[in-house]
Amino acid sequence: MSEISQIKSETLKIAQKYLPERRFLLAILQDIQRHYNYLPAEAMKTVAQYLNVPLVKVCGMATFYKAFSLTPKGKYIIKVCDGTACHIKGSLNLLSEIETILGIEPGETTADGLFSLETVACIGACGLAPVAVINDEYHGNLTPASLRQILQQYQGGIEDAK
């Protein structure tokens, strides 16, 4: 199967968990984002057809929410909290440390496809400030040095180690 038709059939499978009604557009896009870690163009076209929603409206929604990405995201998504507490406790230092190690700024993905970097405004764990979330793993009380260690673990393939 070509990549395009594979995306199409996978997307359709995801979409068909919902009735073909416009109100489910957001939910379907969220599921697709979860599945691929981004929204492939072909998937958006398939959803537009399935729901009978104009393609440009799907693009409108997909570009409106920060939770969606139109380009492939890394295997690990690093979310550095830049809420007030984390900001004061030095989240900017964490960001520049990441930039030194991985060479990416918020919104970017490493060339090897391993990491994407994002900032979020308060994840509600101010007691642990400064915090970063890597995929669903919370890392608190970070310093540039401890963050460097954690990133090395991911680079070494943390899941294999588990």
């Binding site: 393609l55 440009v56 570009t63």
Partner: protein
């Protein structure tokens, strides 16, 4: 049903918006995102008026606010005049080339802001009128994309849109002429897609794209009367209709010549 605008009483119909009643009676309310052909959008906020209703004072967008019996409306209260000035001065920064906004600035004696700099490249005030027009036509080729400071109007994936029929409605309806549409040598280019243009059957001027004509034909379906008349520009269509009317009414007997 009656409403009071600026101290005078006017007849109004249930379901009408304040703006409709005001305009019908020649009361001036400035607008940018409004077109008589479309429902109100309440997005530019320039049509804001002061409403006194049930002992409460509100500032509402008159293009979408429905009339209620006995409601009192002020289109030029101190508050409204002040807010309108700020809005216009801000719009002037977002669309510094817009003749329409320049005109409103003069009309309402607005001093342009000098502490903020205008963006010389920006034209679109993001009112959404173009998107609404495209939506109502049933083509849905453009929409707002992104959000916040990156918000813009565009096609899906910023590519020439399969759904675009080149009708030009978005460019024509835009209050600030922000949408680029060019015509040259029988072609029209809009949203980076180029269309062939058709000539009017009567006068021979270029007037629309085959895709637009096909869209109209499909929409009218069985009800399409005279296909040939679809192939006329607006001017010639009106002319033919007027001629028919004239002939039907036997106006010739009253008119010396057809000048």
């Amino acid at each position: 049903m009656q409403i009071i605008i600026n101290g005078k009483t006017y007849a109004a119909n249930p379901g009408e918006k304040i703006l409709d009643v005001a305009r019908r009676n020649g009361i001036e309310i400035p607008t940018l995102c409004h077109s008589e052909a479309l429902p109100g959008l309440a997005s530019c906020r320039l049509c804001m008026v002061e409403v006194h209703e049930n002992g409460r004072t509100q500032y509402v967008a008159s293009c979408t606010y429905p009339v209620a019996d006995g409601m009192e409306v002020f289109t030029n209260s101190e508050m409204i005049a002040a807010r309108r000035k700020i809005l216009l001065a801000l719009y002037n920064l977002i669309a510094p080339d817009s003749a329409r906004i320049k005109g409103l600035l003069a009309r309402y004696h607005v001093e342009p802001f000098d502490r903020l700099e205008a963006d010389p490249d920006s034209k679109c005030i993001l009112c959404g009128l173009c998107v609404k027009a495209c939506e109502e036509l049933g083509t849905n080729a453009i929409s707002t994309l992104n959000r916040g400071t990156k918000k813009k109007i565009g096609t899906a994936f910023n590519e020439p849109a399969a759904d675009c029929i080149g009708c030009g409605s978005c460019a024509i309806i835009c209050p600030t002429q922000a949408i680029e549409m060019t015509e040259a040598e029988g072609n029209r280019t809009i949203w980076e897609k180029t269309f062939e243009l058709l000539r009017c059957r009567d006068c021979g001027e270029y007037f629309t794209t085959p895709e637009s004509l096909e869209h109209v034909r499909k929409k009218l379906g069985e009800t399409v009367g005279n296909i040939e008349e679809l192939q006329l520009c607006n001017y010639c269509k009106t002319k033919r209709a007027a001629t028919r009317l004239k002939d039907g009414l036997h106006l010739d007997e009253y008119l010396d010549s057809d000048k």
